[in-house]
């Protein structure tokens, strides 16, 4: 879906470009499109990094063109599913831009990614792109667990001032797949107003400690589906901490 969108934007805008060489015209446009998409991370910084990498001078899009492009993207992408990151033709890692590969399956999509790679990051191989993207996306997916665990802590503290803390059995069951959160099945989590809108990869539990005066809440997630779960914990007095090694996703 995403690649189709970009292709549309790409071809549509390319016609208005005055560069004579079609290939150069396409590459220049790609640079501008990607740079524009990076604007929220700071155009100057992105441009500098990009320029260093591409050894070329880039011209950011005007506000008007950026808004128009963004609107085009949104019109062509009525809904972006967090669980289907085939939109990840671009990802921003630590220090430079690279081309994402997650969800790219067909020959047509691969060819388009190859075009991006050639224009945007010629120093990276396709294998580099796939490796970096996978790692980054797994880390991104894993962030769900500490995020919701922090929210769980907030709710546990807010809802337990009178009665103290009580055990909440694990929910949802451990799974490497996305599981839809069902409020009625979530037991004690619903009682403390904690819920997830949609689906999660994480599983949560809360265990009361010190005769109900404290608790330890735990989140489990297997973002890369290798059967090994990353584990996060939090207590009523501590912040969220990851207890498994950093390379467990």
């Amino acid at each position: 879906m995403f690649t189709g969108l970009l292709a549309s934007v790409f071809h549509g805008t390319a016609q208005a470009d005055s560069t004579e060489d079609p290939n150069e015209q396409q590459r220049a446009l790609l640079k501008r499109v990607w740079l524009d998409l990076l604007v929220s991370d700071g155009i100057a910084e992105a441009e500098e990094k990009f320029t260093n990498r591409m050894e070329g001078k880039l011209e950011p899009l005007s506000d008007r063109k950026r808004k128009k492009l963004t609107q085009s993207l949104l019109e062509l992408f009525p809904k972006l599913e967090a669980d289907q990151p085939d939109i990840a033709a671009l990802a921003v890692g630590s220090g430079f831009t690279f081309i994402g590969m997650d969800g790219v399956e067909s020959e047509e999509e691969l060819a388009l990614v190859e075009l991006y790679r050639e224009a945007l990051a010629p120093n990276l191989t396709m294998a580099d792109c796939r490796r970096i993207t996978t790692k980054t996306q797994m880390a991104s997916r894993r962030k769900e667990a500490p995020y919701y665990l922090g929210k769980l802590r907030t709710h546990a503290v807010a809802f337990s001032k009178t009665d103290g803390f009580t055990d909440i059995p694990q929910y949802p069951s451990l799974s490497s797949d996305m599981v839809r959160w069902n409020k009625t099945d979530s037991g004690g989590f619903a009682d403390i107003g904690f819920e997830v809108d949609g689906s999660v990869r994480s599983s949560f539990r809360l265990q009361a400690t010190n005769q109900g005066k404290g608790f330890i809440a735990t989140a489990f997630i297997d973002a890369d589906k290798d059967g090994q779960f990353a584990v996060f914990v939090v207590t009523e007095t501590s912040t969220v901490t990851m207890v498994t090694p950093e390379d467990v996703y």
């Binding site: 995403f2 998409l37 990076l38 604007v39 929220s40 991370d41 950026r66 963004t70 993207l73 949104l74 992408f77 809904k79 972006l80 599913e81 967090a82 990151p85 939109i87 990840a88 671009l90 990802a91 921003v92 991104s140 962030k143 769900e144 995020y147 929210k151 907030t154 709710h155 807010a158 809802f159 001032k161 009178t162 107003g193 809108d197 949609g198």
Partner: protein, 168 residues
């Protein structure tokens, strides 16, 4: 992206005696500046988790969201909790299953039924691309509020909470 309000939300609700004794004035325990920083931090976290393609647009849409009140003024009358947030008009929140009408910018009203459970009120405001959920919880002299924005456009929901203390 349009966060357009859709039709009302239907739920069951029961009147709760807990709110009959609610104090009048409450103010955030963390202070206005700290609360605003908390909101901005939460927004940044949400935007960081959101796909870069829509991040800029989402950021502009959520720039002032969720609106976290520094002060609340409450009053209660026959199954209705009147809620006044900062300088906004007082809104009567019906706790007995009747819908509460919220004015929209186009002059129409959104009807939302409050879900009441003990000392907790949950309101869900549906939008075209997601929803806003507001939880109020009364706990003795304290009042806890959480406002969360959910959308498939967001990598993580935007959620901010604060505790308020009675100033009566």
């Amino acid at each position: 992206m349009h966060f357009i309000v859709l039709a009302g939300w239907i739920s069951t609700a029961q009147a709760s005696p807990v709110f009959e004794t609610i104090g009048s004035n409450y103010t955030t325990m963390e202070g206005a500046q700290a609360l605003e920083k908390k909101r901005q931090d939460a927004l940044k976290q949400t935007l960081d988790s959101t796909n870069i393609v829509v991040r800029t647009l989402v950021g502009s849409k959520l720039k002032q969201q969720p609106n976290m009140c520094v002060d609340y003024v409450f009053s209660y009358s026959t199954n209705t909790l009147h809620v006044k947030c900062d300088d906004h008009p007082s809104i009567p929140v019906h706790l007995d299953g009747r819908p509460t009408q919220y004015p929209k910018k186009d002059g129409t009203f959104l009807e939302v039924v409050a879900e009441v459970k003990g000392n907790t009120i949950l309101q869900t405001f549906p939008f075209a691309n997601g929803s806003l959920k507001v939880i109020y919880r009364l706990e003795n002299e304290h009042f806890w509020v959480e406002k969360s924005i959910y959308s498939s456009y967001l990598g993580m929901p935007l959620s901010v909470s604060s505790s308020y203390i009675s100033t009566n």
